[in-house]
């Protein structure tokens, strides 16, 4: 009986530890090739002959077919700049300096990776249609209520994810993606 209990403990501990460490490496904070900059997280993607198995597993889990980082950086934020989880029931102010890239877009998804359907039918802003300040800087507000300026409605969607895509980033930005100035996300109020 004692031996059976020991074997059961061994199986539970071994499988549990393996699952937890794999989960942390594939989708958590321990992933190699994972880069953090403020609230933003990204995974470096290289060509087929040098694909890190953890990167491959990460994108299998998220269901994406990512382009190489030399073409696009996909940065995701599910927390604000204070580290608090983003919620569709709150209003956020995203402030950004001019971004040194050929083209960028900022999109909001619900927790399932779906665009948030609202009567406004606005899901994103990009470098062509965002209203900017004199220096190329811009502010975008995420909120369930209508906001002045660049507003993306969040429709009380519960947890939300903000994705910033940087296409053909200039070398100055691409080579320093972990330290370069990126948009900040500040919570203003919650419903």
């Amino acid at each position: 009986m004692r031996r059976l209990v020991t074997i059961l403990m061994f199986l539970v501990a071994g499988i549990g530890l393996g699952f937890l460490t794999a989960s942390a490496a594939v989708d958590g904070d321990l992933g190699p090739s994972r880069i953090t900059n403020g609230p933003w997280r990204t995974w470096l993607v290289s060509g087929a002959t040098r694909v890190n198995p953890y990167v491959r597993a990460h994108f299998a889990l998220t269901g994406e077919l990512p382009l190489r980082s030399s073409e696009v950086f996909i940065l995701n934020a599910n927390v604000d700049s204070e580290g608090d989880t983003l919620s569709g029931e709150c209003t956020y102010r995203i402030d950004s300096p001019q971004i040194a890239t050929r083209w960028w877009s900022l999109t909001v998804y619900d927790a399932n990776g779906q665009l948030i359907e609202t009567p406004a039918r606005r899901y994103s802003f990009n470098s062509r249609n965002v209203m900017r300040g004199r220096n190329g800087d811009f502010t975008i507000r995420l909120s369930p209520q209508a906001q002045p300026g660049n507003w993306i409605p969040t429709g009380n969607a519960g947890r939300i994810l903000v994705t910033l895509r940087l296409y053909n980033a200039e070398a100055e930005l691409g080579d320093n993606i972990s330290t370069a100035p990126l948009p900040t996300i500040k919570r203003l109020e919650c419903v």
């Binding site: 071994g14 597993a57 779906q114």
Partner: protein
């Protein structure tokens, strides 16, 4: 001072770590096969190889190409090079675009964008190079300007992405992409 070590627990401790390592590696290595390959296999409604399909950013869910960008128009075709090469006639709008070849487990084995190509209409011949030697092109009708790509993946999916600068241009961009053709060579 004598320390008595219970080797019984040391044995089980080492065994637990080894089992955890096996489970960890199994999840990391088999996840792409279990999820990506299954998604690619069930990706298109017709189930046809080498047929161009268009997908909307607003339909993304728990499928491949999740979290699609609403500023990008997407099209794709599945390929299987085991018998014949794939001929791609790609048509893109005059904006940012990229074409990527992905293996069954999601590796980007080839990509090209508008800056690299310098043109918006191009022909690509995708050969099976997974065995180390390129597939024969005998009998394949390919022009002099055709880009010949030796693919490390024998099967997978080709994804076309083109930027939609304004929502009013969505239909025109999608129509341009729809003029692209995938066919077995």
């Amino acid at each position: 001072m004598r320390v008595n070590i219970d080797f019984h627990w040391v044995y089980w401790g080492i065994a637990t770590v080894l089992l955890a390592a096996v489970v960890h590696l199994a999840i990391v290595l088999f996840l792409p096969t279990m999820k990506t390959a299954r998604h690619i296999a069930s990706f298109d409604v017709t189930g046809e190889i080498a047929r161009l399909e268009q997908i909307s950013a607003r339909e993304s869910g728990d499928t491949l190409l999740s979290r699609r960008s609403p500023d990008i128009a997407y099209a794709f075709c599945r390929f299987d090079l085991s018998e014949r090469p794939l001929k791609i006639s790609a048509r893109f709008p005059k904006t940012f675009w990229t074409i990527g070849v992905f293996s069954d487990i999601g590796d980007n084995v080839y990509s090209l964008n508008d800056r690299q190509a310098g043109v918006n209409e191009l022909e690509i011949l995708l050969l099976d190079g997974s065995s180390g030697t390129d597939q024969s092109t005998e009998g394949v009708n390919a022009g002099a300007d055709t880009i010949v790509v030796s693919s490390l993946a024998q099967s997978g999916v080709v994804v076309f992405r083109a930027l939609v600068e304004n929502p009013s241009e969505q239909e025109a961009v999608e129509q341009t992409l729809a003029a692209s053709v995938c066919e077995m060579g």
